[in-house]
């Protein structure tokens, strides 16, 4: 029994160590909030999540401007290449966003406080509230 107890103690200790590592890894893989990105003082590759509060398309420059709002109301301007967006999502004027679940990956430029978008990811949360269809 004594040997078993010792082994259980080792198992529980390891369990806690693994849980701690797992918790930290999962927690740190959370997408950054706008406020966290705006605090950066050096260029960095970031993945940021926020509420999409505005978009504007510059047809001449072929750029799409996206304004993301953080949890505390801070706003971040993100600039995406229109041809990349069209390739992935279709024509700019017909884009449909789930404003609550936009996740942008890109390089943050602290000097101009702008995010140069390299990838746009989107969650599927609102999709499950839709009526059903079939092929």
């Amino acid at each position: 029994m004594g040997k078993s107890l010792k082994l259980f103690s080792v198992a529980v200790a390891l369990f806690l160590v693994f849980a701690g590592i797992g918790y930290y890894a999962v927690k740190s893989s959370a997408y950054m909030d706008v406020s966290q990105v705006l605090k950066l003082d050096h260029r960095a590759k970031v993945t940021v999540r926020g509420y999409l509060v505005g978009t504007q398309y510059d047809a001449q420059a072929r750029k799409l401007y996206l304004w993301l709002e953080g949890k505390h109301g801070e706003k971040l301007l993100a600039i995406a290449d229109a041809s990349y967006i069209e390739n992935k999502y279709g024509p700019i004027q017909y884009l449909q966003w789930d404003p609550d679940n936009v996740v942008l990956q890109g390089i943050y430029d602290p000097q101009h406080k702008v995010l140069v978008v390299t990838d746009i990811l989107e969650g599927c949360h609102s999709n499950y509230g839709q009526p059903a269809a079939r092929t």
């Binding site: 078993s4 890894a25 959370a30 679940n101 990811l121 989107e122 949360h125 999709n127 499950y128 839709q130």
Partner: protein, 355 residues
């Protein structure tokens, strides 16, 4: 006991074929959300393939955890066999979860791998349990091997609740929470197909664990029945995947970005080559109307009889991510069959010992 093992073998054979039939029905006819923000709405058919396997892998890891506790408490070789068998089956399920999830993510989230908290959690879980096999096979002392590996199996289980709760822990995830899924899941047909598939996948895994832990007791006849069932299941899945892939031929395959006009005189904005174009459809599209709107945006479609920006008819296609996930499902079933039917060089090798 041998009699119950034989019965379990036949039940597994039956369930494998039933699983392929239910899975085929799901990818051919099951409902999906009519309107989505990104990618094809029909990509959500993956709900019926990816999610049941992902959910049940947690159950098998829990089985391994309980068996490991029982082993350390009672030191019965039987529990050690169950720790190994549960972990083996669960890890196969987790591998399929990772592969099918990333194929679906490319279509519906925009990228194969997003370092989403749940993705990270499942990857950590998978890696933690791979270490279990490495650790077990590295110990040559037959008395120490089960003790050390059971202790490790208890520790590795910590990744299961972390992975499950990852979206809540991180408070930002592309994965939906259970509450967000509820609306879609409450629809009777969705519920019927999803829960039938989940129960079958769960039973297949539990029977596979039971049979793997008692492999030596399977008669050649039962082994043959399982082999035939695996082969039949794979053929059904490959046949249905092939049928879905063939639908891509015989017309112009493109994606719909917008729909204009009434169902009887609709125009679709689609991609033609490197540019976008409006194509009018002669066919009445009323059958695609959901809650007053033509639900075609995002779909991969085949335009039949296309000439000069007008097509006679269209067909909604099942997106390649669903077909690919279903083909990988055939590989997953083959893997399950392989681990059950493979003859170990020795009894010891069966549980990670060197021959």
């Amino acid at each position: 006991m041998p009699d119950s093992i034989e019965k379990a073998g036949y039940l597994l054979a039956l369930l494998l074929v039933l699983d392929a039939i239910v899975g085929s029905y799901a990818v051919l006819r099951a409902p999906y959300p009519a309107f989505v923000n990104l990618g094809s709405p029909a990509a959500y058919l993956n709900i019926y393939i990816h999610v049941p396997v992902a959910m049940t892998s947690y159950v098998f890891y829990t089985g391994a955890f309980i068996a490991a506790i029982l082993y350390l408490h009672r030191r019965s070789e039987r529990y050690d066999r169950y720790v190994y068998s549960f972990t083996l089956v669960a890890t196969l399920y987790a591998a399929y979860t990772l592969i099918s999830g990333s194929i679906w993510a490319h279509e519906s989230w925009g990228s194969y791998w997003n370092w989403d908290p749940r993705e990270t959690g499942v990857l950590l879980l998978f890696l933690a349990y791979l270490v279990y096999f490495a650790l077990r096979s590295s110990i040559s002392d037959p008395d120490r091997r089960p003790v050390v590996s059971a202790t490790y199996a208890i520790a590795a289980y910590s990744m299961v609740p972390i992975s499950y709760a990852a979206p809540r822990i991180a408070q930002s995830s592309l994965h939906p929470t259970k509450a967000l899924l509820q609306g879609f899941m409450e629809q009777p047909e969705v519920r019927a197909i999803f829960f039938t598939k989940t129960v079958i996948v769960l039973l297949i895994g539990l029977l596979a664990v039971m049979l793997y832990a008692n492999r030596g007791q399977l008669s050649p006849r039962t082994r043959r029945a399982i082999g035939v069932a695996v082969l039949s299941s794979v053929l059904i899945i490959i046949g249905v995947s092939g049928y879905l892939a063939i639908q891509y031929s015989g017309g112009e395959v493109t994606r719909v970005y917008a729909v204009f006009g009434a169902p009887t005189s609709a125009k679709l904005l689609v991609k033609m080559g490197h540019s976008f174009a409006n194509v009018s459809i002669a066919e009445d599209l009323s059958k695609y109307v959901v809650e007053g709107k033509i639900a075609l945006v995002g779909h991969v479609v085949k335009l039949v009889g296309l000439s000069d920006h007008s097509a006679k008819s269209l067909e909604v296609l099942v997106p390649s991510c669903v077909i690919l996930d279903f083909i990988f499902y055939a590989l997953f079933i083959s893997g399950l069959g392989y681990i059950l039917l493979r003859k170990p060089a020795s009894i010891g090798e069966e549980y990670g010992e060197e021959p």
